[in-house]
């Protein structure tokens, strides 16, 4: 009778074999030499070097700004600690830099290094990579013609609107002063080229984009925003927002109108 194996865990290794494998793997992560049976001692370091270099290359490619900003000894220690302490979960190495960002947040590295904008900088760099590579999102059926105020506006679905505490998207880290605040950034992927576009937006415009994401008509958003932001001048608000909306159309973020 043919026994189907299915998705059950198979573990036929002896404990002694598992221990040898664990020790070698642990050495690759930490660089601390283990006791291993029957190895060529002088060749062991190649494994540590090769494993560590893959991680370093991947992370440095994902975070070029942070890498060039941090002093090399600080950067190298951070990578060393990450590799030693963190257990990478993704089987896809190109997604691993996200885990590096999460590690830095969890360990509060920005406080340790006294760089209050480090989390934002890493997040910004990761998001560019993420939006560039993320799975395709289906574009909606759209009409080119429509009433900008009364019809539902169709947005490029491949976007993220994020809030930052520091303006890492417009100020180089070496120039960053005590500029903590609320900063909003729209990032989206152009359909034809796959390139990533960035737009720095005010809190008002971030609110409008967020409402448009929910499918609310611009006319209603403006009415709400007029009171929410205590502008109390609907016509003036409309005039400014329509210029912004027109800019988003020209930049291919607004695609048209939903059917």
């Amino acid at each position: 009778m043919f026994l189907r194996l299915g998705e059950r865990n198979i573990h036929l290794l002896k404990e002694s074999t598992h221990i040898q494998q664990s020790r070698l793997a642990s050495y690759c992560k930490t660089g601390i030499k283990p006791e291993l049976i029957g190895v060529i001692e002088e060749n062991l370091h190649h494994y540590r070097r090769l494993v560590f270099n893959i991680g370093v290359d991947t992370i440095e490619t994902a975070y070029p700004i942070t890498h060039s900003f941090l002093p090399s000894d600080v950067w190298n220690k951070l990578l060393h600690d990450f590799y030693a302490e963190h257990k990478c979960q993704t089987p896809q190495v190109w997604r691993m830099p996200l885990e590096f960002y999460e590690y830095c947040v969890e360990k509060n590295i920005q406080a340790q290094l006294n760089i209050p904008f480090l989390n934002d900088l890493l997040y910004f760099e990761w998001l560019e990579l993420e939006i560039h590579t993320m799975d395709d999102i289906a574009y909606p059926q759209i009409n080119i013609e429509g009433d900008i105020l009364l019809n539902t506006i169709a947005l490029n679905p491949e976007h993220k609107l994020i809030k930052l505490n520091y303006p890492v998207h417009i100020v180089a880290p070496t120039e960053m002063k005590d500029e903590a605040g609320d900063y909003f950034l729209l990032m989206y992927r152009e359909k034809e080229t796959g390139n990533i576009q960035f737009i720095d937006v005010s809190i008002l415009y971030a609110y409008i984009i967020e409402q448009l994401q929910s499918g609310i008509r611009l006319q209603d958003i403006l009415a709400e925003a007029d009171s929410l932001f205590q502008i109390n001048n609907f016509e003036q608000l409309k005039e400014h927002v329509l210029i912004f909306i027109d800019d988003l159309k020209k930049r291919n973020f607004i695609l048209g109108f939903l059917n």
Partner: protein, 281 residues
């Protein structure tokens, strides 16, 4: 120079040269190989490039993270994603490394040597059967390069042969890895090949390497294939049935003309060897 049609030799699909490969005919591989880990879940520009590549060439897949020799449980979620990818791109060959890349719940993204032990053979045989059952296709398992054995109780050729024979999987014979290991561990590459289950070879890899000392070669895939590896390749092809052959070039990518020269040389070798075999049949 006599032009030959490339029927057997493929190239590893690298993002570094994907545009030039897809937009020109400088390089004429019979197929392309890619690591599914590097493409699953990817959209945008690279998805378009992948789809374009799939229209132009047959695709084989060579995995990196299955970690067949790991003490850890197989990642069934990811295996099912691989299965979906294989179906989507009509992949006829899926291969993986006879090594482990994950241990104690941590991915390492490189290939560590499995202890050549009987219990490891049993463990891997059962897992290969499980993978084949889930994927509903045979797995080709690759002999990897290694720089030290760990707790070995048998020789490498016996370890590979027992796994291939007992699991019923195919063998991806990496000729460069045989050469690298024979140099690093001081044995005869030809004798090693003779000991393998050559009737199970379904795929061949060729690559360059870097000798970093008098006693160590690192399997870098960053240089041209050397003469001695071509000699070993010719020796090997005379012993096996025709199979697809792949040139791996992952770093220091040269002009595509240079890669084409390597593909042509390999095709010349196999067309001579395998035509002769065919005419004898």
């Amino acid at each position: 120079m006599k032009l030959i049609s490339n029927k057997h030799i493929g190239i590893g699909f690298r993002k570094d040269f994907s545009e030039e490969l897809l937009d020109s005919d400088t390089l004429k591989p019979a197929f392309i190989e890619l690591a599914p880990e590097n493409w699953i879940g990817m959209g945008g520009y690279w998805k378009k490039q992948l789809d374009k590549a799939a229209e132009k060439y047959p695709i084989t897949c060579h995995g990196l993270s299955l970690s067949i020799g790991s003490p850890d449980e197989l990642d069934f979620d990811f295996l099912n994603k691989i299965k979906k990818f294989i179906k989507q791109y009509n992949v006829q060959i899926y291969s993986e490394h006879l090594s482990y890349a994950k241990c104690d719940n941590a991915h390492l993204y490189d290939l560590l040597p499995i202890p050549f032990k009987k219990d490891a053979v049993k463990h891997i045989v059962a897992r290969i059967k499980q993978v084949q059952e889930i994927l509903e296709m045979p797995l080709a398992i690759e002999n990897v390069s290694y720089y030290t054995p760990v707790a070995a109780e048998m020789d490498e050729a016996t370890f590979i042969s027992e796994i291939v024979n007992e699991s019923g999987c195919n063998l991806l014979l990496d000729v460069n890895n045989v050469y690298v290991n024979s140099f690093n561990h001081n044995y005869s590459a030809k004798e090693f090949i003779n000991k393998l289950p050559l009737n199970k070879v379904s795929y061949i890899h060729m690559a360059g390497h870097e000798q970093i000392s008098d006693t160590v070669i690192i399997d870098t895939h960053g240089q041209a294939v050397i003469e001695k590896v071509y000699e070993l390749f010719e020796y090997t092809t005379a012993l096996i049935k025709p199979v697809p052959v792949l040139l791996e070039r992952d770093f220091n990518i040269p002009e595509l003309e240079e890669l084409q020269t390597e593909l042509t040389r390999m095709e010349t070798i196999v067309s001579k060897t395998w035509r002769k075999e065919h005419s004898l049949a």
